[in-house]
């Protein structure tokens, strides 16, 4: 798995959403260095260098994590909790990208220390716009902290 450092970790179980997101990001020339994981457990392995990603270091990225909340195995909020509980991982900005407008999800996410919360709109145009702004958010406005 070594290579260029991963800039974006996309945690998304829905392949359609994953593909649409990747396309939106690409279309907007955000980055190509995106790694996709399909459930919460894999996300945690990737972040903490365990399991399939044994030996992986956070130095290799990601710079930002796009996290869906409804995930198989370990759900998004749990992933967020573990990230924000870890002294090193907590510095990686996490953007929740989810279908849910449920208030409890929003409140809980912010309580756990999410950096941004974006609701995926049904309208693809709006969706693309949201992803574009997200890309701008981290590439232009957000200087990654020194690791």
């Amino acid at each position: 798995m070594a290579g260029d450092p991963v800039e974006i970790l996309l945690v998304e179980d829905n392949p359609s959403d994953a593909e649409l997101t990747l396309r939106a990001l690409r279309k907007n020339n955000v980055t190509n260095r995106i790694h996709l994981v399909r459930d919460g457990a894999e996300a945690l392995e990737f972040i903490f260098g365990k399991g399939a990603y044994n030996g992986r270091s956070l130095r290799e990225g990601p710079r930002v994590i796009l996290l869906d909340l409804k995930l198989p195995k370990v759900d998004g909020l749990e992933v967020l909790r573990q990230i924000k509980s870890d002294a090193q991982a907590r510095n990686v900005p996490v953007v929740v990208l989810t279908s849910s407008k449920e208030e409890r999800d929003v409140v809980e996410s912010y309580r756990l220390g999410v950096n941004s919360y974006i609701v995926k709109p049904v309208d693809f145009t709006q969706f693309t716009e949201a992803v574009r702004q997200l890309g701008l958010y981290w590439t232009l406005l957000n200087q990654p902290p020194a690791l």
Binding site: N14, S16, K70, F127
Partner: protein, 814 residues
């Protein structure tokens, strides 16, 4: 109450004592006093009559005696003077003098000698004189009196005719009378009158002499002169009194008129006297012998004193005797009263203790004791009933315990064995459910027999009959043989063993329904048989027992039902909770998962159009466009549904809301919807209110968004937001001049997915007004609308409860 009774008691006793004891004593005293008094009066009048009779007799005797003495004395004096007058020598001298044969001096000398002689012969003669027929003294023993003229003296005048004793006259200390007699010459012619001055002391002594009439006895002699009684001799008690009016001396008045008799007048002193009167029998002289009534009746006063003493003794004895007698009567009455008072204070064990007496008091005491006993028994039963009710009521929650307790109580109060039979659920059997006898052997035996021989309702036993007919059965005296006849054979050993002397069966009835029977029997040899009172008591106990048994059953049923209900509530709650959780996770899933496929549909349709547009015919592109539109519409629908569902769970968080600011904000947010349109929105008079700001915002957003939507066809849209007050309650109004709607569809206006316009005319999910209504209802308010087709619509709503805020704003945004 108790203390008042006890304080009343002594007063009551005292009253009783005073009324009976005093009354009887006083009565007896009165009777003895009255009869004694009458006796005294009778005896006194009798004694007085006796005494008076005796005194009268003595007075009569004394009067007769004095009369005789006086007559004798007068006669004697008359004779004496007659003797002097008839002296021959004197007569000769007088004759000579009349004839002038003798000189005056000689005559006086010779006659004086004769007169002196005569004076010496009669010691009472004070002096003797001789008057000539004209009354002139011609000679006397006392020379000095010669020449005195007696011509006018009545005694002289009388003396010319015969020998006369004149009325005594007072002369110094003594009383003297003139004693006169005519002197006849030798040839018998009247020549002179002898006048003797007589000392009448002997006569006074004669009258004052012992009459035997006591100290106040007195003899009076009087005559009538000028219509006045004139006393000839002085009265003993009033020596100066000589002339007394006739009216003051009636006895003397009668005497001087020659009558004799007895009289009880008052005398010259005004003192009451007893008197006898007589004429003296000489001239008109009267004689009265009198005695003071006081002295006469003196002996009576002693008699009276003795009688009075006797009377006092009789009264005292009578009173004492009657007091003792009354005490003898009142003592038992007092005792009864005292015992009655004791009973009245609540001590029903008290008895009179006089029941042994054989007199009327004994009867009264026995009746009283019986009454107290009755009261005691009734009270005991009433207490027992009350206690039983209480005990039974306490056992309502313990059905088995209750039955045992009822059996125990009834056996205790009515005795000896008590069995409770209750009809079985199928109505076939009479089941012995409780049994009590204080004799454990009898109880064990009874139990064994009862277990061995069940009773059917249809059986011909006494128990069955009592149950079927619902009427109690009382058998005061039972012979074992007759009992055997009427009882199932299985019972015989029990009957023999306990040898029931008396039987009592009472149905257990509640509201006209018989639920069983109470069966009682007495087997103790010393116990009396059951009586009507026991029947009454057992019936009363049975009533309470039956009611309590039914209550206990109901309670049991209630408890079971309650437990069942509680269990079901727990179950239902769990189910509901599960359902709710399911719903929760469902809507959560909807939020997350339902949108993803829509997004995919929308996204990939878009991608097809973007990436392959040149390859697709226009029709295909339009179809893909429709797919996207529907996907987006579905997305809105899901969003609205989720909002709507969330409203039921979310709590209403009331706080002061500046409604005007909020509405302005909403209007600003809706800017997008009115771009390029002529829209006038007036915001008037919106007070601060108490509401959930986020929810209220949703209300105004939906209503204003609708207003904008349905005014789309108007050249100039006019929308007004204001408030008004109806019956003191603020009402918010959102009014537009849009297409409106038909009021007949009003009922559908606020329903979920209910639309009054076609989708191609006016987009929307049909959930907006449902959300508005739900929010208003969550606030406790009301919402309604007025509209007409093409004439605009007006929505009104209130926020219910304490929604008043205060202050208002006027604003206008174009």
């Amino acid at each position: 109450m108790r203390t008042r009774h006890s304080t009343n008691q002594p007063r009551m006793r005292w009253t009783l004592r005073s009324s009976l004891l005093l009354k009887q004593t006083a009565f007896v005293a009165m009777v003895t006093i009255v009869t004694g008094g009458m006796l005294i009066l009778a005896s006194e009048s009798f004694a007085r009559r006796m005494v008076r009779g005796e005194i009268d007799q003595r007075l009569s005797l004394a009067a007769t005696d004095r009369q005789a003495l006086l007559q004798n004395y007068i006669h004697q004096q008359q004779e004496l003077v007659g003797l002097v007058a008839s002296r021959t020598r004197l007569r000769q001298l007088v004759t000579d003098r009349a004839a002038g044969k003798i000189a005056g001096d000689e005559f006086r000398r010779q006659s004086a000698q004769i007169l002196a002689d005569a004076r010496r012969s009669a010691k009472d003669f004070v002096s003797i004189s001789i008057a000539d027929p004209h009354g002139t003294i011609i000679t006397a023993t006392d020379e000095t009196s010669v020449g005195n003229d007696y011509g006018m003296d009545p005694d002289f005048v009388e003396g010319r005719r015969q020998s006369t004793l004149g009325a005594p006259r007072r002369t110094g200390e003594t009383y003297q009378s003139l004693l006169t007699a005519p002197v006849a010459g030798n040839d018998g012619q009247f020549l002179a009158v002898v006048i003797v001055v007589l000392d009448v002391q002997p006569m006074a002594d004669l009258l004052a002499g012992q009459t035997g009439l006591g100290e106040s006895g007195e003899t009076l002699v009087g005559t009538l002169r000028d219509s006045t009684i004139h006393l000839l001799l002085p009265a003993h008690n009033a020596p100066q009194l000589t002339d007394i009016p006739v009216g003051r001396m009636p006895a003397m008045a009668l005497a001087v008129h020659g009558q004799s008799g007895l009289l009880h007048p008052r005398d010259y002193r005004g003192v009451e006297v007893l008197a006898a009167y007589r004429p003296v029998g000489y001239r008109d002289w009267g004689l009265v012998v009198k005695l003071d009534a006081a002295e006469a009746y003196a002996s009576l006063s002693r008699f009276r004193a003795i009688v009075a003493l006797l009377e006092v003794a009789i009264v005292l004895a009578g009173v004492a005797l009657s007091y003792l007698l009354a005490r003898r009567f009142t003592q038992p009455i007092l005792h009864l009263a005292h015992q009655a008072a004791t009973i009245a204070t609540g001590d029903l064990t008290a008895r009179t203790g006089l029941a042994h007496r054989t007199d009327e008091f004994g009867d009264l005491a026995r009746a009283f004791d019986k009454m107290a006993e009755q009261i005691q028994r009734h009270l005991r039963r009433a207490e027992a009933l009350a206690e039983s009710s209480h005990t039974f009521a306490e056992s309502t929650r313990d059905y088995e315990g209750l039955l045992t307790r009822v059996a125990h109580r009834v056996a205790e109060f009515v005795g000896d064995t008590c069995v409770i039979f209750l009809v079985s659920a199928d109505g076939v059997w009479l089941e012995p459910v409780a049994l009590y006898d204080q004799d454990p052997d009898a109880m064990a035996f009874a139990r064994a027999v009862l277990a061995a021989s069940p009773i059917r309702v249809a059986d011909n036993t006494m128990s069955s009959k009592v149950f079927r007919e619902g009427e109690p059965l009382l058998v005061p005296q039972v012979s074992v043989a007759s009992l055997r006849q009427a009882t199932k054979e299985e019972y015989w050993p029990l009957l023999d063993r306990v040898a029931s002397r008396s039987l009592l069966m009472v149905p257990l009835r509640v509201q006209g329904r018989t639920i069983g029977i109470l069966s009682l029997s007495r087997h103790q040899p010393e116990a009396p048989g059951y009586g009507p009172e026991d029947l009454e008591f057992a019936t009363a106990l049975a009533e309470r027992a039956a009611l309590t048994i039914v209550n206990a059953r109901l309670y049991q049923a209630l408890e079971t039902a309650k437990e069942d209900l509680e269990r079901r509530v727990v179950e239902r709650t769990a189910q509901l909770k599960a359902a709710n959780n399911e719903l929760e996770s469902f809507s959560y899933s909807v939020a997350h998962d339902l949108r993803a496929p829509l997004r995919a549909m929308d996204g990939f349709s878009r991608l097809v159009v973007e990436d392959f547009a040149p390859l697709l015919p226009d029709e295909a592109q339009r179809y893909l466009h429709l797919v996207r539109e529907n996907a987006q519409q579905m997305g809105h629908l899901i969003d609205d549904l989720l909002t709507f569902a969330r409203l039921s769970r979310q709590p209403v968080n009331r706080q002061p809301v500046h409604t005007s600011d909020l509405v302005e904000q909403v209007v600003k947010d809706l800017q997008h919807d009115r771009e390029g349109r002529a829209v006038h929105i007036a915001i008037n008079d919106l007070p601060v209110c108490q509401a959930d700001p986020a929810l209220l915002r949703q209300v105004f957003a939906n209503l204003l968004s609708n207003a904008l939507k349905f005014t789309r066809t108007r050249e100039e849209a006019r929308i007004e937001v204001r408030s008004q007050t109806d019956d003191g309650e603020p009402v918010y109004v959102v009014k537009d001049n849009g297409v409106g709607f038909d009021m007949q569809y009003m009922g559908k206006l606020f329903g979920v997915f209910q639309r009054l316009h076609r989708a191609e005319e006016y987009e929307g999910t049909g959930v907006g007004l449902a959300i508005v209504q739900r929010i208003i209802h969550r606030h406790g308010g009301r919402i309604w609308a007025e509209a007409a087709v093409d004439k605009g619509a007006t929505f009104y709503f209130t926020l219910g409860g304490d929604s008043h805020g205060g202050g208002s704003g006027r604003n206008s945004v174009s």
